[in-house]
């Protein structure tokens, strides 16, 4: 860290390194988890049949189908240490600040550097540059770490459309123009490697997963010819946030974003009733969304009467071509346009000193379809897929300033694939999920944004 700061010093100013301030902190998150489907609740969400059910790698993440970047919030039934997050915040006054977030997730058995960035503090005219690996500033929740969430888990739209969050290695330029309302315009150019959106698999050799049934018998390997082209900055993202003034005790922020990646590769595995054969697709993809946050700060201590309402909508469009089809190689080259969206609405209210009650409604698949139009070969009919809905309630006790205990209940209604003979079918199923989550932080934690 200090060496990195030293390297950057000549670029910025002759300030002494002695002024570099450093604040480490650690968050630990543990949860008891249970559900009405033998611990399979989160798998059923992530593997629910539909367009989200893809085999899509993102960067250095492991390959849980559909969801990659879960910030280490995977759980199994019973007690879990979900993650330990170490934050190293550094500040060279007036020049730059830097943050590194390292998350250890025992469940996935991995240590990942979620963020490592430098941000300028000395540019004129409201300009700022940020570079490194960072959570994109799109939307409202995207750049927040799990310890900042008001719920134990992320909204469905984030889990299924963004693979948890849009987390990129790249450069951001943002501008705060001198307007009467706080406004921020930002642009990011990044590598473009993420789960769910902008996933990059590269040429893949696959083995069928029958090892348990047919021990010792080698299945023939499948070669999926994904491109390795477009090595380089593949993604462009733009966002705007505007905060109209609505009085001293109130705050409102409206946001919108758009992002495009010129590479997206995904593998669809056979799934009862949805997809008969393994096939791979690649092309470009874009996402767009809107978000709104309202906060009321009540004149009482310990958060009593405080209110926060937030809502986000995300739309995803993938413009792909078949690059591999296990049963019908003749389909290779055929276009596929995949569209899916999702939203959530969430409210959080301070009911008692240090107790907040939260409610969330979220949904994916208001639009959930695959189009084959525009192709000269093959049919032009669109395929429609099911939506998924969830209602969540959470009671959070802020025991001290650095400890939280949360009780969360969710009921999800999701399409589930049923292995019903050769064809299979999709059924809707409702199930409950329960969390008792405990979180503790150590060390002076850096300030949070709005």
């Amino acid at each position: 860290m200090k060496r990195a700061a030293l390297l950057l010093l000549p670029l910025f100013s002759p300030l002494a390194l002695a002024e570099f301030q450093f604040q480490p902190s650690v968050f630990l998150d543990g949860a008891w988890y249970g559900d009405s489907v033998h611990g399979e609740g989160n798998n059923m969400i992530l593997n629910s049949p539909g367009l989200q059910n893809t085999h899509a790698h993102g960067g250095d993440e492991h390959d849980h189908a559909g969801g990659g970047h879960n910030h280490g919030t995977d759980v199994r039934e019973g007690l879990n240490l979900r993650y330990a997050e170490t934050t190293l915040y550094g500040l060279l006054p007036g020049v730059f600040d830097t943050r590194t977030n390292i998350t250890f997730s025992p469940r996935a058995g991995e240590v990942s550097v979620e963020e490592f960035w430098f941000r300028s503090l000395g540019l004129p005219a409201g300009l700022q540059v940020k570079a490194g690996k960072f959570l994109s500033d799109i939307g409202y929740l995207n750049n927040q770490h799990p310890h900042q969430w008001d719920m134990a888990d992320a909204p469905l739209a984030y889990q299924l459309l963004l693979g948890g969050a849009l987390n990129q290695t790249g450069v951001q330029l943002n501008w705060t123009p001198p307007l009467p309302w706080y406004t921020r315009l930002g642009m990011e150019i990044s590598q473009g490697e993420n789960s769910g959106y902008a996933s990059v698999m590269g040429p893949a050799t696959l083995h069928h997963e029958h090892e348990e049934e047919e021990q010792g018998e080698e299945e023939p390997a499948v070669q999926v010819p994904f491109d390795s082209r477009y090595n380089g900055a593949r993604m462009v993202t733009a966002f705007v946030k505007i905060a109209p003034e609505i009085g001293d005790d109130h705050a409102l922020q409206l946001g919108a974003f758009w992002s495009r990646s010129r590479q997206h590769q995904e593998l669809h595995e056979p799934h009862p009733g949805v997809n008969a054969a393994l096939h791979g697709m690649q092309g470009s993809a874009w996402i767009a969304g809107a978000d709104v946050v309202y906060k009321y700060d009540a004149p009482q201590a310990y958060g009593v009467g405080d209110l926060k309402i937030q809502a986000e909508y995300i739309y995803q469009n993938k413009d792909l071509r078949l690059t591999y089809h296990e049963l019908q190689p003749g389909l290779v080259g055929q276009p596929r346009e995949l569209r899916q969206d999702g939203f959530y609405v969430q409210a959080q209210y301070g009911i008692l000193p240090r107790f907040t009650l939260g409610a969330r409604y979220d949904m994916t698949g208001l639009t959930h379809e695959a189009l084959r139009a525009g192709s000269t070969r093959g049919p032009t009919t669109p395929s429609y897929f099911e939506d998924m809905k969830r209602v969540t309630a959470a009671l959070t006790w802020h025991i001290t300033e650095t400890q939280k205990l949360r009780f969360q209940v969710a009921r999800t209604n999701a399409p589930v694939g049923v292995d019903d003979g050769a064809a299979g079918r999709v059924e809707r199923q409702s199930f409950n999920q329960y969390y008792i989550q405990y979180q503790i932080g150590f060390g002076a934690h850096a300030a949070h944004g709005f």
Binding site: T176, A243, H448
Partner: protein, 295 residues
């Protein structure tokens, strides 16, 4: 785009050729001090009202907007605003007011600070620089005012003499009032505070901190803690002081158990306060502390 940015830059430079310095303060006490020292040469706005706890505040976009155009940010400092000000500064797009720059002033860092009690580890009140709540000690404020005059003089050299003169006048006003306050507090013993935010005032007048209603900073009073506190306070004279935003239950219970009177006082003057209004706030505190002197 480039031309647009250039135009914006020009606009910014032009607006720099101003009459009054734009000063954004975190708390109303800092606004009062800045008005006392800056007089007509400053245009002051404050990010927090006196009905909010500056410690517990969250970042609001309007704060970034205010800091965006400021020539100077005046904070209490010493980590009092650590939970939100760094992020406001980082997101405001204004290089002039960043920590360490001439447009950044922290009052508590200009004076000798009292140590904080050792932290339990469960509290986010990890003050690296001691207790930051200097705003209720009029003498330390006067001293910070003299530092502030130097900062203002650096930004607006034409009015340097005015700043130094006004800072001296504020100190004189405080020193003139000191004997009156001392006289009023003759016989006063001390106070039970909600949080350790008025200890500088108690320390200035040789009064005792009889206890805090919060067992741990950030944790509201528990029945157990109140009983223990009441037991310690047996036969003790003094007064219980709470801020307007604190729930009245804890102080009321303690008052019932001990017979000590309760006073509700803000920690800061009103948002539009000047030096005189700040001194009136100290008057009110002195009056409240004196009330606990005689049964």
């Amino acid at each position: 785009m480039k031309r647009f940015l250039l135009a914006a830059l020009l606009l910014l430079c032009q607006s720099g050729a101003q009459a009054a310095l734009k000063v954004v303060t975190t708390t109303p006490a800092m606004a009062a001090l800045t008005r006392a020292v800056g007089g007509e040469h400053v245009q002051v706005s404050t990010l927090v009202g006196n009905d909010r706890d500056a410690h517990m505040l969250q970042v609001k976009p309007s704060m970034m907007r205010a800091v965006r155009d400021a020539d100077l940010v005046v904070a209490v400092g010493a980590d009092l605003e650590a939970g939100w000000l760094p992020e406001v500064l980082a997101s405001a797009g204004n290089p002039r007011v960043q920590t360490g720059r001439p447009g950044h002033f922290e009052a508590a860092m200009q004076v000798e600070r009292l140590p904080d009690p050792p932290s339990s580890g469960f509290s986010a009140h990890l003050h690296r620089y001691g207790n930051p709540h200097i705003n209720l000690d009029p003498l330390r404020m006067a001293q910070a005012g003299e530092s502030l005059a130097r900062t203002l003089a650096g930004l607006d050299t034409a009015h340097a003499d005015d700043f130094h003169r006004q800072a001296a006048a504020f100190r004189a006003a405080v020193e003139a009032r000191l004997p009156v306050w001392r006289e009023s507090l003759k016989g006063a013993q001390g106070a039970v505070l909600y949080h350790r935010d008025a200890v500088y005032l108690l320390d200035r007048f040789g009064l005792k901190l009889l206890g805090t209603l919060e067992p741990v900073p950030g944790v509201p009073p528990t029945a157990n803690h109140l009983r223990e506190l009441a037991a310690q306070l047996q036969g003790q004279k003094g007064v219980i002081v709470q801020a307007p935003w604190h729930a009245p239950d804890g102080p009321r219970q303690l008052s019932e158990l001990t017979g000590l009177p309760i006073r509700i006082l803000p920690l800061d003057p009103p948002a539009d306060a000047d030096g005189q209004a700040y001194l009136r706030l100290i008057d009110a505190w002195v009056e409240a502390l004196a009330a606990g002197g005689t049964p």
